[in-house]
Amino acid sequence: MPDPLRKMDDLVSALEELRLHVGPADLQVGDRKVNSQLYISLANACLRNRAALLYGGMGANKTTLVNLLGSAFTGLSFDEVENLMITGHPEQTEEKIVGFIDPRQWSCPPASSPDSSRSSPHPGSSIRPELSSSSFDEEADAIQVLWTPWARSRWKVINEINRFPSGKQNLFLELLQKRKVSYAGKTLDLGDTCYFATMNPDFSATYPLDEALLDRISISVPATQPDFLASLALAEREKEVWELAESLPYFAPEEFESLPGMVAAVSLDSQVELSIISLLRDFTLCERAPAFDKTQLSGGSKPSRGLCAGCHYFNNPEVCCWQVDEGLSDRVRQDLRSYTRAMALLLGLGGSGEMIEVLRAVAPYVIWHRVSPNRTMLERPPYYGARRLLYVKDLVEKSINRTLNERGEMNMIFAQAVDGDISPKDAMEKLSGYDDPIARLDYLKALERMV
């Protein structure tokens, strides 16, 4: 009987033993410590239609790791997976990425076509102004598009995504949004796919990633250079990567397909669900934004541009709202739930109190690439302007701790009011004594509507 989780453990062991990935155990989940780059990539492989971004300098084993995992999960050879990958550069075109019109259709007209002029239009006059819209659709139906192997693959790797110019990044935005790709009027349904992207820091010849695209990247993990011990271990590797890749355990198609179902079977307890919602509200609520929603703010009015000056919560280190410019979208909630489940499945966790530890570990990686921290705070020790992930991790920690501890009483009051156990007016009176953004901007407003 196939056991994908056991095979997953074998894969992790094989990657380490073959010296194909020997990163440090930098991700602490409860009592366990694992390598963040590997386990977040594995978690992404267990999910479908989520995109993981591996961020780091050259030679940090980003692309190779993703291709090795692609080889193990899809059953293709390492070379085949490498050939599937697309790499960003300014001259990359849509035709090279997704597909192009099959030129053979004009030299070999299909025998079944009754109208030779329609089945073999003259090149360059495929769109004729005299055609009606219905005839245009028929014309488009007749066009054959050759989709690239990358477009047809269920394991999509976008290498160096930041080397695509901004206009071409829109292609991926559409792809991640619609889960389908269009070219010359033809549409290819991408189906359930695993997306991976890699990105270097801001070198020359790179382009900033669009905020909308960043929001559609579900999780991001830094890839670091091997440390001293890892370098020693890598020195023992004598064969080429592609040779060693053949020794990795391969997943059968049904095993790979069963992973999303196994993730979905992991249940999240109320503690985790409550912490996720509160975490989102902590980042998103803003007393001065329209509808108290920071995602409504335009470029000129941001916390970093003086929006918070004189605000009650400004400079209070326990409050998250003023410490990041952006609010979090509902996609973050979905991503937090999915990756918490996937990581819990990978690590075999699920007991009382274990799921919240998984959330604590995973949440910073889901959030940090989506927000811009307050520069003044970020530039202070221990962040030194560079450790953005650590900064977001501290914010996440504060939010979760606050939800699980200080917010208990106010949450119970609100719950009693919503359930009708106490009157909204009484609840409002009690909640007005709580100095908390969620109580003031969410709970009190909701109770006002109930009154």
Binding site: L274, P317, E318, E406, N411, A415
Partner: protein, 288 residues
């Protein structure tokens, strides 16, 4: 499921009481005013320490950029001077000294230069006895409640110098009234004159004054030692119950009045010395 059931599950029946949003040490501070705003009406050293920057240089920046407006802000400023002095490996020099400098000092060395303007009242013209010249002003409450370290005041100190100190040492050119009041330990050296009420209620420590002292030196003293190089004012050792006061000049009228214990030594005494004395000893130093 009802929302209350959801919350019950989330908290497992253990709901903690509300708590104000905490502030932690080393977090973002806009300046001294910002720090003062975050503290309560009567800030304690531990509370200031919690919010103050970790780096000594940053504390020093706060100290020199500050303009304390009232007693509350002066006490915060004073605690900051102590925190900075304790963190630095070399002496911290503060120009000008303000009230409460060296408040609750536990270590390090703090040098206050009284040559510059301060928030304290101006003193009279120099009388040639070590008192500060006319242009000097004096800061009060210097080295109050200190328990370690050294405080050096290059000019004259104001009132309440070293009040309630429990350790460490203070050296100053001169001092105002109530110097070393309720002293429990440590030592103080005044190179010029001391004002009235020197060492009131002392229960420990040692004080040496090279010049003279004003009235009621050693009033209600229980333990410790006071040494005065020149004359002292009236009521020296008033109602003292222990310790030792030694003056190398003349004591004023009613020295040792109602004293219950301890020892007073002087070259000479004014009228009514030892009146209503219950215990203790009053000695006259023999002339050479």
């Amino acid at each position: 499921m009802k929302l209350k059931g959801f919350m019950d599950q989330a908290y497992g029946g253990k709901v903690r009481g509300k708590k104000r949003l905490d502030e932690k040490r080393g977090e973002f501070l806009l300046g001294f005013e910002d720090l003062a705003q975050r503290l309560k009406e009567r800030p304690k050293r531990a509370e200031v320490e919690d919010l103050a920057p970790r780096e000594a240089d940053q504390i020093v920046d706060l100290i020199f950029s500050a303009s304390p407006k009232d007693k509350r802000e002066e006490t915060i400023w004073g605690i900051l001077t102590s925190l900075a002095a304790e963190s630095l490996s070399e002496p911290l020099v503060i120009i000008p000294p303000r009230n409460f400098a060296g408040l609750e000092l536990k270590g390090g060395m703090l040098i206050l230069d009284g040559n510059a303007l301060t928030s304290g009242p101006k003193v009279g013209a120099s009388d040639g006895t070590g008192r500060a010249p006319a242009s000097w002003t004096r800061a009060h409450h210097l080295g109050e409640r200190m328990s370690g370290g050294r405080l050096i005041v290059l000019g004259g100190a104001g009132d309440y110098l070293g009040q309630e100190m429990d350790g460490g040492g203070i050296v100053c050119a001169s001092c105002g009234d109530y110097a070393f009041r309720n002293m429990k330990g440590g030592w103080g050296v005044v190179k010029g004159d001391a004002g009235n009420y020197l060492g009131v209620g002392n229960s420990g420590g040692r004080v040496a004054v090279k010049g003279g002292a004003g009235a009621r030196a050693g009033w209600l003293m229980r333990s410790g030692r006071i040494w005065v190089g020149k004359d002292t004012g009236d009521y020296m050792g008033l109602m003292m119950s222990g310790g030792e006061i030694s003056t190398w000049g003349r004591a004023g009228a009613r020295a040792g009045w109602r004293m219950k214990g301890g020892l007073i030594t002087a070259d000479g005494y004014g009228p009514e010395t030892g009146a209503e004395k219950v215990g203790g000893r009053i000695l006259r130093r023999k002339a050479d």
